[in-house]
Symmetry: C2
Subunit: 674 residues, 2 copies
């Protein structure tokens, strides 16, 4: 094992020193995050192929391109990826084709190829997903081959200019005309304009459109329909369709997010997406078997977001940790050489808990995904759907928690790199700007927290009546008999502290809801008047799930003792970091005493010191290729200053010593005073 | 008064309704933030002049421009501003000239003219500042007229590729050569490369350069020198000078942040900036009268940052609040119309505390500025400099606190606008990206917090010995006699709760420092091992200062009772928001009980409901011109959806229905499958 760690690649002495000793087998950790040795191998093969292909490189850094050039550049690469995966023999060896493209675009590699968005992302994600998951078998037979081959390019359009997370508020209508056997798709107002879908502006020729289904004057609620937006061959937008790009964003500027308006556009009845609901020729509406079925897609989408933000945090922690080992600053002792900034406890406190968070997120997301697949299997066998609401609540909680944790964590990593973290060439700006939208898409986080709270309050009432509880809230059952104070500060003690705090908060908010009701407030208003507290309890419950899963995942871990030991330390760090951040909640509920908080703070300091020598090795173990990091500060060799300088030299402003702008504007000013 | 509120300008019905009733005189609040009626009038006159000048408009939104075009566009406007302020008779009426430019660039208007950075910003800020503040009178006579007229353009270069906040670590050298009466400026390593200064890359012909002063083999530490970088007329970089742009950033991409290397560049001895220190012809070094004098400039710079982030928060809260009154979403009651999202408590909890924060920041910054001016007057009269370290500590604390609070607050405002907050046209992305660098520039925040902690620990020890305490820590004097628990939840009770918590934290950390020392750890290492806790106590002390100043400012306020009342509510909201966020600290110290926390949470809910009807009027009172807001979501008329749509239509991708990229890349793919 030690032999494997010997490095032959060049790196700066500071990193050589960090890498010289490693207490654990890095490769074993790499395999965890790849989901097994085989996947690590496949990923590395794929990396070798795509990162050596000049067609997948950018001719100049995209930051120097105009808005139009950036779109064109990404479209070029996205189309090239399709061709390459269909035809390149090297790729067929490791399983080419559209499935492999989907696999790659659902991996961290997508960030390396398409740095700031990909016009075909929604085609491979939501459009193919809707075909495969929501279409009837006949429909799939018609649409899937065309979409797989790229004969048609599609996207998924749900949100509107005036309507987001609240699906029932959508205004676009699909009105059935039995005379012609068609639906009429229409945007009745400006706020009904479809707004946001990736790839919609200029790329897609088709879209799945969510619209209110109207039959004979009755509204059956939002349903999906396939609509052709652009003509074959000419790609001209079709009659009745107004489509375009919505303009620049904080990030993800290369995926032509678009708008779309319909002026009474007619489509065949059979273009309704009909796996679950149907409309017959005579206008009869056929309901889906269960409304809960639609939860499934959302659960998977949100688990996908958890993995994605986890990768982003891996990227950010790798960059910040390596830079902290290379950067020297200030003095620990007067007159001595400036130490590596990772020697500072304040810096350790920035990077190490975020490295631990990567594991916490990973284990929680992975557990949820496995549970979902288990449940899905049962559903296919015809079992009941009882667990779906529970999974739905957990996926809302984890998506909201991790999108926030990671966005904040990336900011901490960026600021932990000082001013240089603000440079585009550090890549931390882009990692931030492409992560933060996960806080609002696929369910705005505050709305999700309130959904989690609704599940908690319902379960809490169920528990009070001695009713059946779902697994994630099984701990509610003891709530009336438990004392609040925890007796030990072990991990299980702290997990139990979270449990007790959630119950204490639920008790308080249930009482307040009750009180408002007694004062004559309607339930919805009482709910609203308690909603800040409801969001808080949902957040604490989510943190409980994550802590609990982290501890449980390690209890089951069967790898080497070295890896087990370092993960135990990271788990402990995550626990204490979380509890000390939430100390107000744990103190208020009486779960913890002030003295216990002090003990935890001291232990935190000790853990930071103990983990500091492992920091660089820990991020090395994420095994992120330099092309995935794309960072002057985070590259494997740590040659930070030369990289910063060389990257700056690429600025078009540096092509000439004196820019034209000088002659046009500055020279007249400066000369006029000579 | 009510008569003045009648609106004749068009706005959407939702905002009409909000504006129909206002319990206070908006103009009185506007005057507070302008610093008096006269200033409000001047600002409005200036706005009328500059916002109607087509030369100060952007031909297309800068987001669509390339990196070079953006620089050129801002340089054009910056030079035009100089000419206009020198010559436009309208501007002379309200006091034109360079002083007026400085005034404008130190006001919120600068964000309206230069949306993403200004190549001349450092010229008017730091370069003129260094001339006026740090040069001797003879030097000023030589340099000031040239800099004022624009004959020379300068910047201020301190940070290096490998060196930031830690001034003593700078590597650039200025070695005195008595034979030629010159200094030799040199960059000995790549890490010595000057890096970051605005306007350095292509604009400036001169720079103030911080370099280690060497005389006869002895290093006297960093001192400022004026160096000519580019030739007159040709603007070519001079021999021995390597200068260029450092490449794109997260934001502020139009101010040619630059790098600079010296290869033994000779400058006359008299180019040393010599108000405080001097080098005589024979090589004699003349020390400054007091090392504390240099604190003055930093205090003012950091106060300036506090005002600037305050304006940014005004912009963000105005946008988010107006949008929250226009946006309708979800249901409060099943089947009823979707309410304005500002009806939701969770939304109120996002915007209202941030509106209150604007006042908190303003009063704290204003108090510090006035104290500084008072102290400066005494110094000029020859009084002692004792208060400068105190002012220095307070300015570090407020800069670090407010840059963080506001950056986070802007994120909350952006996320509070849902997906649309991610659109560049909301302007929230740019407000964020141009605010967050304040967390690392002019002193990286973690370093500043540790400086504040050093001041606190020193003062705490002084207090234990019964020594003299500076005003901001006068409360330390009672620390041994006080019980921790506060007896009432009034504002002064809560302020006192903060005092007690700071003291409790200081006691704990002082004990830990002591313990480490007794265990044989060297002091610097013990300090480092306590530094996470030290940063925490510094933050709580800073929050104490702000709460205390807010309460005190209102106690002195002599305006109308309507304004007084609304500001009292905002102050109370700020207090409770702060205390409930910091409840862990107040509970741990024993200042608060869990029951008291619950009472405060209930009061928070009541305050949000009470302030909700005033929300739009409160942000109206900031009186931000639509050009200052530059936001589709935040414009005065609330015509959000038409503005979003119209702004999107400006995208160059929307100029044609089918972009060239289609024919180049997509068509071959899609046709090959037909």
């Amino acid at each position: 094992m030690a032999g494997k760690q010997v490095q032959v690649r060049f790196c700066v002495p500071d990193l050589q020193k960090e890498r010289a000793n490693c207490s654990f087998n890095k490769e074993e950790i790499t395999n965890i995050f790849d989901g097994g040795e085989h996947n690590t191998e496949t990923r590395r093969k794929l990396q070798n192929i795509i990162f050596s292909d000049p067609n997948l490189q950018d001719p100049i850094p995209p930051d120097y391109m105009s808005h139009e050039q950036r779109y064109e550049n990404e479209l070029r690469k996205a189309v090239y990826v399709m061709k390459k995966f269909m035809t390149d023999p090297q790729l067929q060896d490791i399983g080419g084709g559209p499935e492999a493209i989907k696999w790659m675009y659902n991996s961290i590699l997508r960030h390396a190829i398409h740095k700031d968005g990909n016009p075909l992302m929604l085609h491979f994600g939501m459009f193919l997903g809707a075909i495969m998951g929501q279409m009837s078998e006949e429909q799939q037979a018609e649409w899937l081959p065309k979409a797989m081959s790229g004969e048609i390019i599609g996207t998924y359009t749900q949100t509107e200019l005036g309507h987001g997370t609240f699906l029932r508020g959508l205004e676009t209508t699909a009105t059935y005309d039995p005379v012609t056997d068609e639906f009429i798709i229409h945007s009745p107002t400006i706020t009904a304009t479809k707004w946001w879908p990736g790839g919609l502006g200029k790329t897609s020729s088709f879209a799945v459109v969510m619209a209110q289904l109207h039959i004979r004057g009755q509204n059956y609620g939002p349903h999906p329909f396939v609509v052709q937006l652009r003509e074959h061959v000419t790609h001209a937008s079709r009659p009745g369709i107004t489509v375009g790009e919505i303009g620049p964003r904080l990030g993800l500027n290369s995926n032509d997010n678009g708008f779309l308006r319909f002026d009474n556009v007619r489509i065949p009845r059979t273009n309704m997406v009909m796996k679950h609901s149907k409309v017959l020729k005579d206008g009869t509406y056929v309901k889906p078997k269960s409304a809960k079925l639609s939860y499934g897609v959302m659960v998977l989408t949100r688990v996908g977001i958890c993995y994605d933000v986890c990768w982003q945090l891996m990227r950010a922690t790798t960059i910040a940790t390596r830079y902290a080992a290379v950067r020297h600053q200030s003095e620990l002792e007067v007159g001595e050489a400036e130490p590596q900034i990772i020697e500072y406890q304040t810096q350790q406190y920035k990077v190490l808990p975020m490295i631990a968070s990567v594991y916490a997120i990973w284990f929680a997301a992975d557990t949820l995904r496995h549970t979902y697949m288990e449940v899905q299997k049962n559903i296919n066998k015809g079992s009941d759907l009882d667990l779906l609401p529970e999974l739905h609540a957990s996926s809302c909680a984890l998506k909201a928690l991790f999108s926030t944790d990671v966005t904040d964590g990336i900011s901490v990593m960026r600021l932990g790199c000082g001013g240089h973290g603000y440079l585009a060439s550090s890549n931390l700006p882009r990692i931030y700007t492409s992560t933060t939208p996960s806080q609002t898409y696929e369910g705005e986080n505050t709305v999700l927290w309130l959904q989690v709270a609704r599940f908690l309050i319902k379960s809490f009432r169920e528990a009070s009546k001695g009713g059946r509880l779902q697994p994630s809230v099984a701990y509610f059952k003891n709530h009336q008999t438990q004392t609040r104070r925890i007796t030990d500060l072990s991990n299980s003690g702290l997990v139990s502290g979270y449990e007790r705090s959630v119950l204490s908060m639920l008790e308080a908010v249930a009482k307040q809801l009750q009180q408002y009701s007694e004062e004559g407030m309607r339930y919805e208003h009482a709910w609203n008047a308690c909603s800040v507290r409801l969001v808080n309890v949902a957040k604490v419950h989510a943190r409980y799930i994550v802590c609990d899963q982290f501890v449980k995942a390690l209890a089951k871990y069967e790898g080497s003792s070295g890896v087990r030991q370092i993960m135990d330390q990271l788990c402990r760090l995550y626990m204490i970091y979380s509890v000390t951040n939430d100390q107000g909640i744990l103190l208020k509920s009486g779960a913890l005493t002030p003295d216990q908080c002090n003990l935890l703070e001291e232990e935190l300091g000790e853990l930071l010191a103990a983990l500091r020598p492992e920091a660089v090795n820990l991020v090395d173990a994420f095994d992120l290729h330099d092309e995935v990091l794309d960072s002057t500060l985070g590259a494997w060799d740590g040659d930070v200053y030369n990289r910063l300088y060389n990257e700056a030299m690429k600025s078009p402003l540096n092509k000439v010593d004196v820019p034209d702008a000088y002659y046009k504007y500055l020279q007249p000013l400066m000369k006029s005073n000579l």
